[in-house]
């Protein structure tokens, strides 16, 4: 089967940036897919299925990132992850979490 590659831009719309809770949500969702998923911030590229990798993005509010998936379910993975970003991760922006 032909390798399926999909890319899409996302923006971090969280006051406190991409802290541990959203990173956990991304990794959890990404891990449900078979495809490889990378998140790019400039020259930096990390594995979207690994929380420690995601936290090294140090992505602050308003930061533009790129989702890049390759594999059989890449299209759905990028769609679902983009939805997670645009929904604000359904996490609190409270000052005592992170």
């Amino acid at each position: 089967m032909r390798e399926n590659r999909v890319q899409g831009p996302v923006t971090v719309d969280l006051e406190n940036g991409l802290h541990l809770v959203p990173c956990s949500r991304i990794a959890e969702l990404a891990s449900r897919f078979d495809c490889q998923i990378r998140i790019l911030k400039g020259d930096l590229e990390v594995d979207a299925k690994t929380i420690l990798d995601l936290m090294t993005l140090e992505a602050t509010c308003g930061e533009n990132l790129v989702l890049a998936a390759s594999g059989i379910d890449a299209q759905e993975a990028v769609y679902q992850l983009t939805k997670l970003f645009t929904s604000g991760f359904e996490v609190s922006n409270g000052s005592d979490v992170g």
């Binding site: 956990s24 609190s92 979490v97 992170g98």
Partner: protein
């Protein structure tokens, strides 16, 4: 930002013996208090904020590592300590495995960038298997401080 900028050397617990996640967090917060990095009056508040954060989802992020943390107005800069639990402690981790390495982080609420940078720094080193392996072998407080310094100077990769 470097690990040695915010990890308090005297507060490191190289051989923490605990039965529960709550006890581990309590002892780490207490160690920061004993070493004058947080006020005794704030100790319970900080502890309960960290435990409340854990209720949102465990900071046991897999591979035997946990990063319990909170933002708290009682600190004006990042404050952190490290603990090693030889036998491991149940942390309700994402991978279900016991936790051996803990980095506890307290950040000022008005500086979310510092909080992210602290987490970035800790995460970057914890994803290096050599760092984790050396950390687990460290016996004394000074071994851990030396290792943090080597990690800061990129001498481990």
């Amino acid at each position: 930002m470097k690990l040695t900028d915010f990890v308090v050397p005297e507060a490191i617990l190289p051989d923490l013996r605990v039965e529960s996640k709550e006890e581990a967090i309590r002892q780490m917060v207490s160690s920061l208090c004993t070493n004058g990095k947080i006020e005794p009056d704030d100790e319970e508040g900080i502890l309960s904020a960290i435990l409340k954060r854990e209720e949102l989802g465990s900071t046991g992020i897999g591979n035997g590592v946990a990063v319990p943390h909170t933002k708290h107005p009682s600190v004006t800069q990042l404050v952190s300590t490290v603990a090693l639990v030889r036998d491991g402690v149940d942390f309700a981790s994402l991978d279900g495995e016991p936790v051996h390495i803990l980095f506890l982080l307290i950040s000022p609420p008005d500086r979310p960038g510092d909080h992210l940078r602290g987490l970035e720094n800790i995460s970057r080193h914890l994803r290096n298997p050599q760092f984790c392996s050396f950390l687990k072998q460290a016996k004394a407080n000074s071994d851990i401080v030396d290792l943090l310094r080597e990690a800061d100077d990129d001498q481990l990769e």
